[in-house]
Amino acid sequence: MKFTLKHFYFLSLILLTAACSSDDSIDKDQEKPTISVNYTAGFPQGCAMLTKGETYNFRAMVTDNQALAAYSIDIHHNFDHHTHDDQVAECDLGAIKSPVNPLIFIENYTVDEGLTSYEFNIPVTIPDDIDAGDYHCSYSVTDKTGWQSRTSIDIKIVE
């Protein structure tokens, strides 16, 4: 019996020592990047109206604790009201309708190596021949580690 218990203590000790001695001091990146349009020049703001034929500068501030890597812009229609955004305002949506020739804007960009703060500024011209109506503008950003943050904004394209 004594023999057994001694072994138990020994093994438990090993287990505990091993459990506690794990090296957690290593500097691994545990923070997601951030993305924001909540500043004066940020674009688009929630419920923004965009006019066909005009060119707009899509701007957002992205930051990370270590190194930013890439970002993407995705503009797609919300004619079926599939969801609402995470911005403060709730926008008035138009009637549900079927898309004929909706705007599809899907682009990826990289951020210069080593930056921890960056404002992207992408000019996009809204074509004249696309469907007007409710759209979503989704931004996402990754850092070098592979963490990602996203945000999406309800917008409206008008004639």
């Binding site: 072994h7 093994l11 091993a18 890439a70 850092d143 996203r150």
Partner: protein, 789 residues
């Protein structure tokens, strides 16, 4: 099965026998219930009284004073039964009906070793789960039931689906074996649950470590081996109906099973049906990836489902041959949480909240059909085992058709179809030249054919052939000291088929022009793999203490999705990319197990250290593909250690206390996520259980009250895209009892279970819905009644 006590009927005739004296006479008869023939030579044993039945089954006990007496009636081939007799002037003739024993107690080994002893002698660290454990702890799915075992956890997909995780590893790293054949479905999938009926299982062996030597590829982290049930006793028939109701997801389940045997032929059959509604979580809203969803009356909308299972087997047993053929079909349909499936969180036009029982889009349907023949043939010192299996798994995933990127709105809801046919063959020879050696050699072969369909591409069509040969020897150095050593070689070939998008994508060329291309997502490719695995271990039994040490090397062949995925994983908001250069995963593990068991208490510890040479890992990169984050399959060295502690003691005869703890540490020591842990790492967790056995309580026989208190620490060790998960404490209570409703029949078994007593809002780090911040199920009351016959 000794616990399936087929009882006797006890019947007091109404005609009174008066007695003038203060002492009485008990007169009675013992009959076989099956054909009402008299049981001659049955013994009736009381504290101070004894009788043997005559040719007519009759017996008499004289000079019995007034009072209540207990007698045990035994007869060869029958279940012994204890009856209680109230002796007074109203006593009539006592009729006792004896049931034939329903099952053979155990596989009787020539050596006379008990199964328990045999398990102690095998150096492989394993855990045996009995039917009693399954019945006492039954949850919604088999894996949820087994997650009470330290070191075993689950990845839950809603309330009705779950997949096994052993010491933090799951998916294709845990092999599930049923009746000798590896269960083959879409194990790699996040939202795939195990297609096995959890009713009617008597015996499961869980190996918490590498077991490729015996089970081949995929058994790299462990095995859940669902073993064939014991063969019924000759000339017996038995059965049971179980009814289950649950409050949280309004579940209603019925399962009925029968088994019978003539002399040499036997059969078993079972039907199970379960239907459940949306389950409730203790929260009003869910915030996922910057979309906010309100929940209607705490219902996690569209998580309802149903399951219908049927199984049948027929077998033959004689001195030398045992053969059983199993047919089973598991069919289920269950919804996915509507707001977090599909490319975007959708507030669709479907009125999900109109009913909590309907299954709207998105949902999946699964049908899994199996036929397995398992035969053993004993020839002198050789025992040959043959398992032959065919299984077909058909799964459809339906979502609301919606356009994404350059993909126009599809014409139907059939997003993905997987159809997998698997043929398996095992041949094994167990050769016992003398008492010291048990040499086992064998071959496993398997052929899989995977077809795909639907508008969403994730993995290509492929077929896979594997064949492996192994040999091991269990050598008895001393009756208390055993060595097991073995080696195995496997060869595998995967052939993936090419796939092109069904819609064109817009490509901006360098010269400023634009082309529209049907993108190729997968190539025709043939890949060969070969691998050696091995295992060696010692077991030493010193009185009440068993020591085991085992070292093993296991492997796993890369899967087609790991090699050749190339598509948007809609439900996970990501783009998955395979890697054709992946090597088979290789893992080395050292396991130790020490168990000390006496009558009054038991204590056990099972630590392990594990090293992966090239763990295949789905790495979230910083790249984008059409605005979806790219996840790429890569390989990394991984170091893991951990283990389980367990203690159990019996206080004051009626109270049993159990405590267990489990811990796993994992760290990637190379690759793009160096120093990070592995995905779905279970946090440190402990379980305290108290089991109080009452004496008879009102009309409850053998009532038991069980309290399970789980304490789980926070999981701070995460890897992208996971979230840290807070610790939690949850209390579950259950009350088990037997009730004698029909005097002349078997008692009902009932169980009332109260899960999450305080409706605690907590998150399970290894739940499929954890990533979208869905808490675990709220309070649930379940009532289960089993009527044996």
């Amino acid at each position: 099965m000794f616990y399936k006590i087929l009882s006797i009927g006890l019947f007091f005739s109404l005609c009174p026998t008066a007695s003038a004296q203060g002492s009485f006479q008990i007169k009675g008869v013992v009959l076989h219930v099956k054909d009402l023939t008299p049981a001659q030579g049955a013994t009736i044993v009381g504290k101070d009284h004894f009788a043997v039945t005559s040719e007519t089954g009759a017996f008499t006990i004289n000079n019995v004073a007034e009072g209540t007496y207990s007698f045990t009636i035994s007869h060869i081939g029958c279940e012994p039964k204890t009856i209680s007799v109230d002796v007074d002037s109203n006593l009539g003739e006592v009729k006792v009906f004896l049931h034939a024993m329903a099952t053979v107690l155990d596989e009787v080994k020539v050596s006379g070793k008990t199964k328990k002893r045999a398990i102690m002698e095998v150096p492989i660290v394993s855990h045996t789960v009995s039917e009693e454990f399954l019945n006492q702890n039954r949850e919604n799915t088999l894996m949820q039931t087994l997650s009470k075992i330290p070191g075993v956890s689950t990845i839950n997909i809603g309330s009705g689906q779950s997949k096994p995780v052993i010491r933090g590893l799951g998916f294709n790293r845990v092999a599930v074996v049923q009746n000798g054949i590896k269960h083959e479905a879409q194990q790699w999938g996040n939202d795939h649950g195990l297609e096995i009926d959890q009713h009617g299982i008597e015996n499961i062996q869980i190996i918490k470590g590498p077991a490729s030597l015996l089970y081949g590829s995929d058994a790299i982290a462990g095995v859940v081996d669902i073993q064939p049930n014991a063969i019924p006793y000759p000339n017996s028939f038995s059965g049971a109906v179980n009814v289950l109701g649950e409050s949280n997801n309004d579940l209603l389940g019925v399962s009925a099973g029968v088994q019978g045997r003539k002399e040499k032929w036997f059969y078993r059959a079972r039907l199970t049906y379960r239907d459940y509604g949306d389950y409730k979580v203790p929260t009003d809203q869910i915030n996922y990836e910057n979309y906010i969803f309100e929940l209607h009356e705490n219902h996690l909308r569209n998580t309802a489902g149903r399951e219908a299972n049927a199984s049948f087997s027929v077998g033959y047993v004689s001195d030398k041959i045992k053969s059983e053929t199993f047919f089973s079909n598991v069919n289920s349909k269950n919804g996915y949480f509507a707001n977090a499936h599909g490319l975007e969180a959708r507030a669709s036009s479907i009125d999900f909240d109109s009913s909590n029982r309907d299954i709207d889009l998105p949902y999946q349907t699964v049908n899994h059909f199996k036929v397995i023949n398992s035969s053993t043939l004993a020839l002198g010192e050789h025992t040959f085992l043959f398992d032959l299996g065919f299984q077909t798994n058909y799964r459809e995933e339906h979502t609301e058709p919606s356009p994404h990127g350059y993909m126009p709105t599809p014409s139907n809801s059939k997003e993905r179809v997987f159809h997998k046919n698997t043929f398996s063959l095992n041949v094994k020879d167990s050769f016992k030249p003398n008492d010291k050696h048990d040499i086992v050699t064998g071959i496993n072969a398997e052929y899989q054919d995977n077809k795909i369909g639907g508008w969403g591409f994730l993995i290509p069509e492929y077929n896979r052939f594997t064949i492996g040969a192994f040999a091991y020897d269990q050598y008895e150095i001393h009756s208390n000291f055993h060595l097991l050593a073995g080696i195995r070689y496997d060869f595998g070939r995967i052939r993936s088929k090419s796939y092109f998008d069904w819609f064109p994508s817009t490509i901006d060329n360098a010269d400023g022009s634009t082309s529209y291309v049907y993108l190729q997502r997968a190539q025709d490719k043939t890949l060969d793999f070969g691998n050696i695995s091995a295992s060696a271990g010692l077991s030493y039994i010193n009185n009440n203490t068993t020591y085991k040490v085992n070292v093993g090397k296991s492997f796993r062949m890369p899967l087609a999705n790991e090699l050749a995925s190339d598509g948007v994983f809609y439900s996970m908001y990501r783009y998955e990319r395979g890697n054709l250069d992946l090597d088979p995963e290789e893992s080395y593990q050292l396991d130790v197990d020490i168990d000390h068991t006496t009558k009054s208490f038991s204590l056990g510890v099972s630590p392990f250290v594990n090293f992966f040479q090239n763990y295949i890992y789905l790495n979230p990169t910083s790249e984008y593909n059409e605005t979806q984050q790219v996840y790429e399959y890569t390989q990394a060295k991984v170091f893991r250690f951990g283990g389980e502690l367990r203690a159990s003691t019996k206080l004051f005869h009626n109270l049993r206390l159990d405590a267990s703890a489990e811990y796993v540490y994992a760290r990637q020591t190379s690759g793009p996520k160096k120093d990070f842990t592995l995905p779905f790492s279970p946090p440190l967790s402990g379980l305290l259980s108290a089991n109080y056995q009452f004496n008879k309580l009102l009309f409850f026989e053998k009532p038991q009250l069980i309290a399970d208190f789980r304490i789980t620490a926070a999981q701070e060790e995460i890897v992208p895209p996971e979230e840290k998960t807070d610790g939690y404490q949850v209390l579950n209570m259950s009350f088990l009892s037997e009730i004698d409703v029909f005097k002349n029949n078997l008692p009902l078994e009932m169980r009332v279970k109260l899960n999450n007593v305080f409706d605690t809002k907590y998150f399970n780090h290894t739940s499929f819905y954890r990533l979208i911040d869905v808490p675990e199920a709220g309070r649930n009351i379940s009532l289960s009644i089993t009527v044996p016959f």
